[in-house]
Symmetry: C2
């Protein structure tokens, strides 16, 4: 099955890869703004309805994570509270706060890029996402991880 | 030891009781606005530097919890990112999202009123708050719990 072809020159990609690329665009935007390069989009029925990237520096707010921006933007767009038919694409495994937020939004699915062994919600041995939330990790894992690694490497110089 | 006396008519209260009363004022303000009556204040060196109450209805945002308002307000006030010398007083045991947020703010202490067995972060068997965060629960427990119980009872009528 082929999805999202862009003419002969571009390879076909799956929907998950396509939307993770959109989240990566947000992450690169964060990088331009000297923010930790993590990006997120929320997708409903094939359409992006919310996006965001890390804004902890600009807002001087350690809770201004990409997922929080994207989830609240999506709920705003929907004019409703819950997002059971939506998927959150985010370049890094969500932290406990963001996974906890996704519980309240009742997000249908979370797809993340790089694993975050230290601070990702997956380190917990109990489920903190909504019982109906499906989880997929590792989409464009290397590219998502490399962005963040390079960022912190450049900061340590 | 006596703290915070208000003349002969008022009984002396401990700092924790005093500031939980301030959080209760925020909870009652939420009730007036037909929001779930949960309130929070952040205190640094005896001074309230941030406060907030549940705004999920007004903002149509399921993540607009009292703690998130109070923590971001406090960090704004401090002009810094972290709150290691501050205490978060909140009328209800924080959920996983809010406890996860408190990790990023590196809050020094969390004092909560009513226990939330279903959705409180205490249901987890792993620590999700910052390793240095001290936790106290049950301050003005009955009053804090009753506010929320009465609210939901009135909604079911």
């Amino acid at each position: 099955m082929r999805y999202y072809t862009f003419g002969d020159e571009q390879p076909a990609v799956s929907p998950d890869e396509f939307f993770m690329n959109e989240a990566l665009k947000e992450a690169r935007q964060a990088l331009k703004e000297d923010e930790i390069p993590i990006g997120a989009v929320v997708v409903c029925k094939g359409q992006i309805i919310g996006k965001g990237h890390n804004l902890t520096e600009r807002l001087n707010d350690v809770s201004a994570h990409a997922e929080m921006q994207a989830l609240t933007a999506a709920a705003n767009y929907m004019g409703g509270k819950y997002l059971p038919e939506c998927t959150l694409y985010v370049t890094m495994e969500p932290c406990v706060m963001c996974a906890g937020a996704s519980y309240w939004f009742q997000i249908g699915r979370i797809v993340f890029g790089a694993y975050d062994v230290q601070r990702g919600f997956g380190r917990l041995n109990q489920t903190i996402t909504h019982p109906k939330t499906l989880i997929t990790g590792g989409i464009h894992e290397n590219e998502c991880a490399q962005l963040v690694k390079d960022f912190f490497k450049s900061k340590r110089k």
